[in-house]
Every structure is written in C-alpha cells, then in structure tokens.
Subunit: 177 residues, 2 copies
DNA sequence: CTAATCCTGACGAAATAAGTCGGAATTGCC
DNA sequence: GGCAATTCCGACTTATTTCGTCAGGATTAG
C-alpha cells in the first residue's frame, strides 16, 4: 500500500511562502500605523523569529516592505494592501513560478528544453504555470487581510484582526539602500 | 546578491512528474500496437530504467497502464489517450495536488488549519489549487502525444481530439522498427 | 549609554528527492 | 526444457533542498 509518491502531495509551497504570506497579512492589518517589529509578529503568529528575519530580506529586496532600523523600528508595507498582488509576494518569497525548468514565469530562468520540437509536453507545464500565475494575480493582500464578514465561526477572530498590537507614534522609515 | 529564495523557483514538479508524463506520452504514441518495454522507453527518452521501474508502479496502481510480464512484455495504456486526463497522470505520480496542507485536492489528506476563521489565507491556497487542477483537467494525453507513430488502431479517437498544433516542421524523432 | 531592533553571513539538522542494487517471478521462443 | 527478456519487489545509498539556528555587527530612540 505504501507507494513512493511524495507523502504530502504535488506542487507544494515551502514554509517561506506560508510564513511570508502570513507576515505580509500581519503587516497589511497594521498598514498606516507605523512599523511593526519582527518579534511582535513572530510571537503573534507563533513563528520562529530568526527564520522570519531571513524571509523578510526577500520581501525588502523586492520592494514590498520598508524597514526601520533601531529601537522602535520594524517593517511596514510600501504600498496599500489593495495594491499588492499575491503573485508579487509569492515570487519574492519563493522565486519565479516554475513548475518545470522549461516553463518559468521569469524568461531569464527558463531553460530551453532540448526536446522542444519532439514533444509538446512543454505546453502542459506552461498551461499550469499560467493558471497559477493568474490565480495569484487575481488576489490582493487586502482580500486576505480583512477579517471575515458575515457569521464569524470564532467571535474572537474579529477582535484579533482589528485590534492594534500597540499604540505608538509613527516614525519615518529609512531610505532603501 | 545571493538571496535565499529556492534557486529553481516555486511550485516545482518533481522528476516523478516529468519522467512519468514523458513515459505516458511514449505509451500514447504506441497505443494499440501492443506492450512497450521499459528498456525501450528508457533508452529512447534517455532516462534511468531502474528509476522508471519505480514510477510505473504508481501508474499501474492507478489503473492507467497495463503490464505484461515475461519476454516481449511491457506496458500499454488501459484507455485511449484521448480518455486520459493529465490530472489523473500527475496525481498518480505525485499524489494529490496540494500547494498547502490545508488545500489538498484529496479531502482525506487535507488538514484543518487551526487558524481557519482567523484568517482567510486559506482561500488563496485553494484558488491556486483549483487553478492547477482545472488546467490539468483540460488536457489529455492525446494532445501531448501528437504526432502519433505507427498505424492508429482507433482512428475515431484521433478524430475526437482534433487539436490544431502550432505550425512547425514535424521532425521524425525515431524510426519505426 | 543602553535596550531594542534590523542586518549579515555562516553553519547544521532533518526531510525529501533521486537514483541504485540484487534478486525473484513470469513468460515467449528455440 | 532451457534461455533470455521482462516485470516485480524491497531495501539501500546518495544528493539536494528545506528549515531552521547562531553569533555578532550596525543603527537608532529615549
């Protein structure tokens, strides 16, 4: 019964994608209220802070977040959540969408399959890629950040979503290097 | 600028998917002409035969291929290529489509996220999954197998799946024994 | 000054993917 | 019957990637 198929299924996102998206959602909920520190988010999301420290580098390099160094520093979004497509977030965290080397989102990373011309399997991977990309393009951070409306399964959910972590003065972020 | 993003990009298929699909395409091209041995396919596709031996187990268990043991044995499709959706093939080889544990194609493998109700990030993963599944559902082996080799034993199958291919010179990849 | 915070690079453990190996069982063909 | 081609099976090894940890330096508010 125990076959050799990967036990967790095909086409996995890594934890970079998972944690990174949760981090971005956290930032979206605090958009406009100044920087939020990694420690706060790590604790609130129960994620290892040293690991987040790594992930956030990619987000900063992609221009999605601004960092403020020093005491009372932290991170904040560079744009309103509605203006951030999930494809940008995922690409920053996990690299180009590329279910196969011959079908990368980023042409620069796409290898020419030496079998092109023989087979048209390439089409399959490209269709999958396009499907993923347009699914990610169709959602923004805002949609993920807003607390659920209607009948909340857990009433405290709305509280957690709306409640600001800490009241503190807004400070100017440092310029990007 | 060595960042930590996975060097080959997000949402990769493994070689199981890649090799397995190529193997199925090979079988599709010989559909109706009796079993094809793994050695033949391994050589023709330049793939390690012992590894294919493993993959094909999954395909057999999924009911996609039929094996004939003994000399002159080999594998053949259980159904005409036009009747085999790529989603079946991929699922057999790589397991359920599950970009995240809370968004598996197979409900039995889906874990309930303890954050459900707090966040709606779940929706993101589910949309991605659905996009992938429907892309895979929309293609059949027949489309990938063109051009066919040998004499089609079921010409009506080819007629059912008329698919305009891109214009390009058709090279003959192999000589017919 | 000091505490909080980001930043950087290197390191290590664990999991997964990829491939190998040896041999047993089955079958066509001479 | 004997041989060669083939599938079948389970265990094993190796390579790569993921998932973190760690130690310390740089920056800044108070």
């Amino acid at each position: 019964m125990r076959t050799n198929v990967p036990n967790s299924g095909a086409l996995h996102f890594s934890t970079r994608g998972e944690y990174g998206v949760r981090l971005m959602v956290e930032l979206a909920r605090h958009y406009g209220t100044g920087p939020v520190s990694l420690s706060e988010m790590a604790e609130h999301e129960s994620l290892p802070r040293p690991y987040l420290e790594q992930l956030v580098v990619s987000l900063r390099e992609a221009g999605l977040v601004l960092s403020t160094r020093g005491a009372r520093g932290g991170y904040e979004l560079t744009r309103p959540p509605v203006a951030i497509r999930m494809s940008e977030v995922i690409t920053a965290l996990e690299g180009p969408i590329a279910p196969m080397i011959c079908a990368s989102d980023d042409p620069h990373h796409t290898e020419q399959c030496q079998r092109a011309g023989f087979c048209n399997v390439e089409q399959l991977w490209q269709r999958v890629r396009d499907a993923i990309v347009s699914a990610l393009d169709s959602m923004t951070l805002e949609e993920l950040a807003e607390p659920r409306l209607g009948h909340p399964a857990h009433p405290e959910a709305a509280l957690m979503a709306v409640q600001p972590l800490l009241e503190r003065p807004i400070k100017e972020p440092v310029a990007q290097p």
